[in-house]
């Protein structure tokens, strides 16, 4: 039985990961803002086979609360083996362009709160020389684009940070998995027109759980996004400026 801490547990991708772990009989500690939805998900995961499900309701932008939530998870499960950091918001790019506050709030939610959690978790896992940390970044972090660079730059920070952690923690037997989903059909993207590039959360979740199982360093979900982003990253800036992406 693995003891898994899921941060941002009401996100569709995180929920589908939790369903896989529940079916395996793992213990789950779910953290999210919406208490009512947490209760619904907790009851569901119990029926699906989870050995133990606890919930913790918090706004992760309250950075000072992070240490307490980790202590609570540790106490409830008697240790933490795996952490999935999955919380975030899809920033409204246009609104951010008009507002410094909005931009900084988005960066706080999608980058700084994750960085805070990662810092605390990394030290704990490093000390006990065990554990797996998986973080949901995004293909959007591979290159800033006009249509969502506030979200993208937040994710770029997460990606760079986890890349550094990977190196630092490798010698301590702690694995760090950076997950870069492409377009996923979830409530977060409900307003977007769906096409061929879109994946279902269950499929992305299966990929994430497998990456955690096999301690991969980085995974694009679905895999073809690696090629898409390789092309996007290779476009010279001179040309990129004129591309509408």
């Amino acid at each position: 039985m693995t003891k898994v801490l899921v941060i941002g547990a009401t996100s569709a991708i995180a929920e589908h990961c939790a369903r896989i772990w529940a079916a395996r009989g793992d213990a789950l500690y779910l953290v999210a803002r919406n208490g009512e939805r947490l209760q619904t998900i907790a009851a569901d995961l119990k029926v699906r086979g989870s050995a133990q499900v606890n919930t913790y309701c918090v706004d992760l932008n309250d950075i000072d609360s992070h240490a307490a939530l980790l202590d609570a998870a540790d106490a409830a499960m008697g240790g933490i083996d795996t952490v999935l950091i999955a919380h975030g918001t899809l920033s409204n790019q246009k609104a951010c362009e008009q507002s410094v506050d909005e931009t900084l709030t988005e960066i706080k939610t999608n980058a700084l709160s994750a960085i805070s959690l990662l810092t605390l978790i990394a030290n704990r896992f490093e000390a006990k020389r065990a554990g797996t940390i998986a973080v949901i970044s995004s293909v959007a972090g591979d290159r800033g684009r006009a249509s969502n660079y506030v979200y993208g730059s937040s994710k770029a920070m997460v990606t760079a940070f986890t890349s550094g952690l990977q190196q630092r923690l490798h010698k301590s037997n702690v694995s760090v998995v950076t997950i870069k989903p492409g377009f996923v059909d979830t409530p977060m993207t409900a307003e977007h027109k769906k096409g061929l590039l879109w994946a279902k959360p269950a499929a992305v979740a299966a990929k994430i759980v497998k990456a955690i199982d096999t301690k991969k360093s980085e995974v694009y979900a679905p895999a073809f996004w690696w090629a898409v982003m390789a092309v996007i990253k290779a476009i010279p800036s001179k040309i990129f400026k004129n591309v509408n992406l």
């Binding site: 009512e36 619904t40 998900i41 009851a43 119990k46 029926v47 086979g49 409900a190």
Partner: protein, 436 residues
Amino acid sequence: MNTTTTISGWGSYPKQEAQVLTPPSCTALQSQAQTQPSLIVRGMGRSYGDSANASVVVQTTYCDHFIAFDASTGLLTAEAGIMLRDILQVIVAKGWFLPVTPGTSYVTLGGAIASDVHGKNHHVAGTFGQHVVSITMQLGTSEVVTTSPIQLPDLFHATCGGMGLTGVILSATIQLIPIQSAFITQKTIKADCIEAACEAFEANSTSTYSVAWIDCLAKGKELGRSVLMVGEHAESGGMNLTIKDPIAIPIHTPAALLNSMTMKAFNTAYCAKAKDNKIQTVPLMPYFYPLDAIGGWNKLYGKAGFVQYQFVLPKTDGVTNMRTILTQIAESGQGSFLAVLKQFGAANDNLLSFPIEGYTLALDFKMTPSTIPLLHKLDDMVADMGGRGYLAKDAVMREVSFKMTYPNWKQFESVRQKYGAIGKFASAQSKRLGLA
């Protein structure tokens, strides 16, 4: 945002431009249902025709949570959007099975109730609704109520089989059945004509599951030549349920492919595998859901789509009447090569539930200009024989046929009136059938 999408049922006919709302939770489903002046709830979109088509549809995609499961009693409560497939994944390992299941596991709990689906055990177990202990639903007045055979029974019997027209099913509790194995012991029986097939159903009426594949190409003496498959839950073999991901059919293909596939399937079953009285043990998934192995098999009919026509004929004169209809279908040269034949047990108290005691046949018709007149003609013949068509598959039935063959429609409308459903819950189908 009010962007629209083209939607259709599983038959890809008819299509409709719709605003598709996908609330992220059951709470959001309730508030969106409250806000919309008129809507229909949609689960997996597996009804064949237009029963989940409307200009505003509300999807239950994210209302797919288990609420409770008692492995000692087999009572299961879940949100309406959960798929039967997901339920199976949890319950089989614990020694339970669905009391009634349709031919695909890709339907939601809410959809199974709204269509009051039946399975291969109808003759002994009745419909899905007969195993529903209670339903929690939101009415047109936005009030949330719990209904059961004893609590608001009029609402319950209108909702089971009510095609989503009485309110929004939020969650339901069902009574599962105990099993000792994840396998079925299947016996195959060959029947040389429709009369022999019906006799075989009669002779095997105590079998838990029974269904026949019928060759629609056979004519004359051989008309109705079929393979009857009867089954019982096995008592050994373990509880390990293997659920495989389907092979994807990504694009619409020429319809001929499906015909050659179904032909092959039948030939395999009839000529090669179907040794008379052959007994074999098969896993639950391929036994109950053979077509689930091919994701998007509906696309094999091409872009124009198809209609699945399923009707039931009363038992009295049922065999003779079935021969008449099969002859008509064979003469039209339009039906699929393969059809599914089944004996139904007694009807239930649900107002728009499809089954009545007798024989039911289901087959596909590729959508062409001559399909609709043919189906209307078949509707008339079936109605004259005292039978009727299945609303979960219907895409073309006329108001007059509906009102003649579903005489409880008036009572259904008065229940809808009483619970504030009139006008609030409507589909393309309900409008076509003349429901308010």
